[in-house]
């Protein structure tokens, strides 16, 4: 009984996929190792390998079993076939009497497949089942996330012989690319060899037990979690030494990403010129964290103050001074660009940009961005008016007028992810009202944000998300450019979801057909979209589909048929509330829902003409209990009472019993009506 080691060596696995791959590997190995008895499992991942170790592996013993074969009367040929199939000698077979007649029978010996065979089967199965978000081919016909270049499979100290897509398995594994640094890694000198390749140093793995240590000595920390811990710890330690704290925004994600980019993480402190600190922090943080995958630092005493330092994570014993110089050069070039854009952009007053929007087309047939801006002005005003917020109209119009201006700035040209954010900064710089400036930024958060968080942002941003979204949706649907299948080049689905989320988060009550009609009229006043637009009639259904998606995405409702029923209603704006009510009932009052379902099923069979309001013949205490409950308003507080009363009634009384049937069914029918104030319960039946 030995341990089993399997390492799949491949070219750099994308950092964001590594943890998922490790989990999948573990799950698949467990799932497909039914023919083996395994004491324990451990998996790991680095940019260049994915591995698993099974401890104390041995094959499941297949017990001796008696196998019955063909009728003796069927003759020699059938008998020979039986022997061949089961690998038994004719002399070992006996004849037995069964209800079918006299048949041949053999006792198949207990057997054990060689463990090596079972392990190779396991590996082959797992390799072809493993899931990757993307796959590629490189040679041969198998696909994987990146090319597989070597494999190690050891059962005890014995390498297993097999191959996958032309890559033979053996006992050679790759060291860190910088492993020859003897002063850094504690290498047994004679172990390392190049395997014919210039940059790939490696070693012969002796056994599953020595694997992790051998790798660690050659510069590879195999455990993703251990690398993450080292990065998180060292980054914080280094920051502390600078009297700084590490920016928390996306800290965990950045740690994980760096753990996925390194096999031997080493922190290096770098700096940039303090003159760049006049830039908006979002610009610096985007440059450092998103583009360069480095950690930005804040002042420990004044946490909203960025410091002109950052920490990069090097891989292995590179020359710290050289690498730092390289990173600083790249960051300096990027920040220098950003500073140039920032200074340039500030010189242009916002008002003059509104005119310049006339040079930027929105879409053929839908005018320029200036046309769009003017439509948004009308639409924002209309929304404020129709939601009883007339006093917000002047601000809403201002938001509309500035909404597209930052798209013309050099900074957004360079950092498209900062659209909206930069709008806010430039507006603030030019002395625009703070609520207006923030609305420019917040309108962008509705596309991806969660409803719970969006509730905290201002109403003007929500208006802009709705107005901008409706303008785009109506325009494209009128042109019959409707998303189908995976084709949604204009991201209309997300746009539609943003509109819904803005509406729901701020409980803005608007009539959808009215909103569509007004949006269209704005286009037509400008001379666009004249004539009929059959495509536009599909917009309502599109909204329903997006709602259905959001119900699932927000874990409100999961059952597709319930969602479908809910979404076929006319007034889609109320659906969210209904879904919330229904979700609460389904999740928190499932006993009541079960009882309600029983009633619902019974009453479904009842004909209308049978109904009555005369309950005078119902005198049983279980009946009176229901009648009494009908006299008090139905709220969630009384649901336990309803649950008990309904179950008792249905368990103990027979509804069809004469002469009570008609009255009892009518009573139940009233119960359904009475409880329907809780939400659209019928949809979940």
């Amino acid at each position: 009984m030995s341990d089993f080691l399997w390492e799949i060596g491949c070219e750099e696995i994308p950092a964001r996929m590594q943890k998922g791959a490790q989990e999948t590997l573990e799950r698949l190995v467990m799932q497909h190792s039914g023919s083996l008895i395994v004491q324990g499992i451990k998996t790991w991942v680095t940019p260049r390998r994915l591995g698993v170790r099974l401890s104390s592996v041995f094959p499941v013993l297949v017990q001796a079993v008696e196998k019955q074969g063909p009728l003796v009367d069927l003759g020699e040929k059938a008998f020979a076939g039986f022997c061949r199939t089961h690998g038994v000698q004719p002399k070992d077979c006996i004849q037995v009497l069964t209800p079918k007649g006299v048949v041949w029978s053999a006792t198949l010996a207990a057997k054990q497949e060689p463990v090596e065979t079972l392990l190779v089967q396991l590996c082959t199965t797992v390799l072809s089942h493993i899931f990757w978000p993307k796959r590629m081919v490189w040679s041969g016909d198998q696909s994987w996330i990146r090319p597989i270049r070597w494999m190690v499979t050891l059962y005890g100290q014995t390498p297993l012989e097999w191959s996958f897509n032309g890559v033979p398995s053996g006992s050679w594994s790759e060291a860190h690319r910088l492993a020859p640094h003897k002063d850094f890694f504690d290498l047994p000198g004679d172990v390392l060899h190049q395997n014919g390749l210039h940059s790939r140093f490696g070693m012969r793995i002796v056994s599953p037990e020595t694997y992790a240590v051998q790798l660690a000595h050659s510069g590879v920390l195999i455990d993703h979690g251990a690398r993450s811990e080292r990065i998180a710890h060292d980054v914080q330690q280094l920051a502390k030494e600078q009297n700084a704290i590490v920016c928390r925004d996306t800290f965990d994600g950045l740690v994980e990403e760096n753990a996925g980019l390194t096999q031997w993480p080493v922190v290096v402190l770098c700096q940039f010129d303090a003159k760049y600190l006049c830039l908006p922090p979002e610009v610096i943080i985007t440059t450092l964290q998103v583009h360069q995958k480095c950690f930005s630092l804040r002042c420990a005493e004044k946490p909203d103050q960025l410091l002109p330092y950052f920490i990069m994570i090097a891989d292995g014993p590179v020359s710290g001074a050289m690498v730092r110089q390289g990173y600083e050069r790249v960051v300096d070039a990027r920040l220098s660009d950003a500073l140039f854009f920032w200074t340039l952009d500030l010189k242009t007053p916002l008002d003059s940009r509104i005119e310049a929007l006339a040079d930027r087309s929105f879409f053929q047939g839908l005018g320029t961005l200036r046309d769009k801006t003017l439509r948004l002005k009308g639409l924002m005003s209309w929304i404020a008016d129709h939601t009883g917020q007339q006093d917000l109209q002047p601000l809403a119009q201002q938001v509309a007028m500035f909404s597209k201006c930052d798209l013309l700035t050099a900074m957004v040209g360079e950092f498209p992810v900062l659209q909206g954010v930069m709008g806010r900064y430039y507006a603030e710089h030019h002395g625009v009202n703070t609520a207006v400036a923030y609305a420019l930024q917040q309108a962008y958060s509705y596309g991806r944000g969660r409803i719970a968080e969006l509730k905290k942002s201002g109403i003007l941003g929500a208006y802009l998300a709705i107005a901008d979204g409706m303008d785009t949706l109506v325009g494209f649907f009128a042109l019959n450019r409707i998303p189908s299948g995976s084709k949604d080049p204009m991201a209309l689905r997300r746009t539609c979801q943003a509109v819904i989320k803005a509406k729901v988060a701020h409980q803005i009550s608007l009539d959808l057909p009215g909103l569509i009609a007004y949006t269209l009229s704005q286009y037509q006043e400008q001379g666009f979209l004249s004539g009929d637009h059959p495509g536009l009639s599909k917009l309502q259904t599109f909204f329903q589909d997006r709602l259905a998606f959001l119900f699932k995405d927000n874990d409100l409702l999961q059952d597709s048929s319930t969602i479908k029923l809910l979404c076929t209603g006319r007034n889609i704006w109320n659906m969210w509330e209904q879904a919330e009510q229904l979700a609460t009932l389904l999740n928190e009052h499932s006993d009541f829902i079960s009882a309600y379902r029983r009633v619902y099923a019974l009453v479904q069979q009842m004909q209308d003409e049978q109904s009555t309001h005369d309950f005078s013949i119902l005198n049983h205490p279980l009946e009176r209990a229901l009648v009494d409950l009908l006299s008090i308003p139905c709220t969630v507080d009384v649901l336990p009472g309803w649950t008990g009363a309904l179950n008792a009634f249905l368990d103990r009384l027979k509804v069809q019993e004469q002469p009570f049937e008609k009255a009892r069914l009518s009573l139940l029918c009233q119960v359904l009506n009475h409880c329907s104030v809780l939400g659209p319960l019928a949809l979940a039946m």
């Binding site: 090097a314 961005l369 080049p489």
Partner: protein, 305 residues
């Protein structure tokens, strides 16, 4: 390493290295294009079954990146060293690292990283998986295993290596500006910097692309290019048709630099270019199959052309 390599000696070193790997050394394609991938020697040649190894410098035009020569590392015209290897060899990453060594980069001292960057060129209907290669944090090379071209799967798979020559030169010469890079190895009077060679172009083309290029005329040229491409394709002339794909792409880039294309409009332009590009790829594969099939008769070929 005695003296940092000049820009031109880098090219010579890479050419020698890749020639030794069996590559056909070509000259850059003689049309304006944004990247060496757009060269038919990359895109169309990657589509067929026949092995193909080539290397060439491709001057690249990115009109929107023009900065009138005032930005140290943002220019409207720069140079890629493009390598295409079909089928992709098993030691291709190793070859790349060796080529760095021969440029004078000590791969044992610097931080070289393969960072996920799946490549996609929507106007060519092309996609591949790979990385951007970071040298001490600077992206110096794009490495891609082609999976699709003109919407069709690539088999066998090509590996494409694209070196950003200017960026590597910054690194090697320890400079902060493209314009200060030594272009040749001479000192004194005969010494030329990158700026000596390219500054006037940066200034004049930036002004042209951003301020003067006539929008309506360009739109007409765009339409013409697509129409002529379609016409050439009708006559069975794939390579001329593909040239018009390249030209339409460049005109689109100029219009974009002029700020004449809205966000929503982009997709429309790109889809039209891709449509022609895909048609070229389909026709190219069909032609190659016919040419490689010894049983195809002249009549077959005529019928298809």
């Amino acid at each position: 390493m005695t003296q940092a390599r000049s820009f031109q000696s880098m090219v010579l070193a890479l050419q020698e290295f890749w020639a030794n790997q069996g590559c056909v050394l070509l000259q850059g394609y003689d049309l304006e294009m944004g990247a060496g991938t757009s060269s038919p020697f990359t895109s169309l040649y990657a589509l067929t079954q026949k092995p193909w190894k080539a290397a060439f410098v491709q001057p690249c035009r990115r009109p929107s990146d023009g900065r009138y020569g005032e930005n140290p590392n943002r220019v409207q015209k720069y140079h890629q060293f493009q390598v295409i290897l079909k089928p992709s060899p098993g030691d291709v990453q190793d070859l790349l690292l060796r080529s760095y060594e021969c440029l004078g980069i000590d791969t044992q001292k610097h931080d070289i990283r393969f960072v996920e960057d799946d490549w996609e060129n929507p106007s060519l209907g092309a996609a591949g998986l790979g990385w951007e290669v970071w040298l001490d944090g600077m992206e110096v090379t794009q490495f891609t295993y082609f999976q699709q071209m003109g919407g069709m799967p690539c088999s066998p798979v090509s590996a494409e290596i694209t070196y950003g020559l200017e960026r590597i030169a910054l690194f090697l010469q320890n400079k902060n500006s493209f314009f200060d890079l030594a272009w040749n190895d001479s000192d004194s009077d005969a010494a030329y910097t990158w700026g000596d060679v390219a500054l006037r172009g940066e200034q004049q083309f930036s002004a042209w692309y951003f301020e003067h290029a006539p929008v309506s005329g360009l739109i007409q040229h765009f339409e013409d290019a697509l129409a002529w491409g379609a016409l050439a394709l009708e006559k069975g002339l794939v390579l001329p048709a593909y040239d018009y794909v390249v030209q339409a792409n460049h005109i689109f880039n100029v219009l974009d630099a002029r700020g004449a294309i809205g966000v929503a409009q982009r997709a429309e332009y790109i889809a039209r270019i891709r449509h022609l590009a895909s048609a070229c790829c389909v026709a190219w594969i069909r032609d190659q199959n016919l040419n490689e099939d010894p049983h195809a008769t002249t009549a077959d070929k005529a019928e298809h052309s």
